[in-house]
Symmetry: C2
Subunit: 260 residues, 2 copies
């Protein structure tokens, strides 16, 4: 069964895109078929994967003029494809107005794709990269997802938004998507040189317990360099600490999936 | 004359809030009277300044139930006050619907405050901290501002959104606010240990020339630690590289103001 996971956190710059690209790549590396849906008008996930052709984009999918199957294409990573984003996505919320089905556009597009897929070649994971806001695009992602994976930077301001995000997930579960749950929280940009990182890690583990993945993604410059080469860090520098952490996260995600 | 400056960049986590808090503090330290308006529902600028009383907030100001003069209060920094934000701000865009004056709510609130001030004790600088999105809150800030100060993280993804932000500023100047211009671009979280930072600095200076402040804000853990103490870094650790950089930025901002 295809699993749909939204990467969401309204706090900016916490590693949503970096996690979508590199977790997606690590899952593909162990044999899973993965689709990344770029739902951020900035299109960082598309750029980070070298997706230059944006003639069909997630804006077209959200406005119903293109199917998800037609908008997606394979990246330079085997078994990993992307539905790219363009700046047009900024207009989606205004253009959809008060139309009653506006919260389910993405869910319906994903269901149609899954229904049309060959059962022997189906997509195993759909990862949705969300913008840094709890707007209609993120609501669409939460309404479409089986679960939410929350990247959380090991910094003070990042903690502040967590309570709000968790209550928004509750609200979406109540109103739009009863199956939605928290897949897990992944701590990102952990810097062992600073006491601040350890404080945040301790606080988050104390409050959220085993909702927090045991894998922690370290701050690692190779991770920040890789998008400028249009490659995930696993292709750019397989041996670096960033790549190894995302490989570990992928196996932890798969492990959790087995238990759900 | 009171100068209104918006801190905007739709890319998340680039240092908008950190710059609003610490540039505001540095301007106050040299004798300017400063008001920070927190326009981000996350309320990070309010928390970073220890603003616990949010009984009156910028949401009340935007919906017209409270004046800006009544919502603002002094922080623990002399000559620096804040109009704090609450999560209610998330509802502003939906609640304002298609009302014709919705883009000018903040501009009108700031004008009313300035008009009512004692000329011998007027606010010198108003800094508006924007959310990571080009939504109606950010549009209000751009419509109200004399100029935009763009914090830009020394990372690859941060470059990608710059062109979009500059074209949005053009659009706002054409449609809503003919005086709006770019005050400058400040490079943040510069890490001299990585080649990536230098590449971004070189690229940005080559493309934007002297729009870029000569002051570069270094990545400095004391800056990231200070909000957890509810203090700007200038109060938390005056001698650290982060504080010194923001003091330099403040004198550069004042210098540019003289030339405008
Ligand atoms: N583990 C890491 N080590 C070093 N740099 C990182 C790491 N993870 C992310 N970064 C860098 O930090 C910045 C923010 O990450 P990213 O853009 O993935 O966050 P985001 O949450 O998607 O941001 P936005 O809120 O704008 O969508 C990027 O420049 C990225 O390259
Ligand atoms: N010069 C610096 N050195 C070290 N850390 C910094 C520096 N500037 C900002 N930070 C940290 O980086 C993170 C992002 O900064 P900040 O929250 O100010 O960005 P922002 O653009 O306001 O984010 P958002 O898009 O969510 O509003 C914060 O945790 C902050 O403490
Ligand atoms: Mg992103
Ligand atoms: Mg901020």
């Amino acid at each position: 069964k295809t699993r749909v996971i939204a990467l969401a956190n309204q706090k900016g710059g916490v590693g949503k895109t970096t996690t979508a690209i590199n977790l997606g790549t690590a899952l593909a590396a162990v044999g899973e078929k993965v689709l990344i849906i770029d739902l951020d008008p900035q299109g960082n996930a598309s750029t980070g994967l070298g997706a230059d052709d944006r003639s069909a984009s997630t804006f077209d999918v959200m406005s119903g003029t293109t199917s998800l199957a037609d908008a997606r294409f394979v990246t330079n990573v085997p078994r990993l494809s992307i539905a790219p984003a363009t700046i047009d996505l900024m207009a989606f919320e205004r253009e959809s107005g008060m139309e009653s089905g506006r919260h389910y556009r993405l869910r319906d597009a994903i269901s149609a794709m899954i229904a049309a897929e060959d059962p022997d070649d189906r997509t195993d994971y759909v990862l949705i990269d969300c913008p840094p806001s709890l707007n209609l695009l993120t609501v669409n992602a939460l309404a479409a997802a089986d679960a939410v994976l929350v990247p959380l930077q090991c910094e003070f301001f990042a903690l502040e938004g967590l309570a709000q995000l968790l209550s928004t997930v509750e609200e979406i579960r109540g109103r739009l998507n009863p199956k939605l749950h928290i897949h897990g929280v992944v701590l990102t940009m952990y810097d062992q040189r600073t006491a601040l990182s350890d404080q945040v890690v301790d606080d988050v583990r104390r409050v959220l317990g085993d909702k927090v993945y045991s894998t922690v993604i370290p701050r690692n410059v190779r991770v920040a360099e890789s998008p400028s080469h249009g490659k995930p860090v696993l292709l750019y520098d397989y041996r670096c600490a960033g790549s190894q952490a995302y490989i570990k996260l992928a196996s932890e995600v798969i492990e959790r999936e087995k238990r759900m």
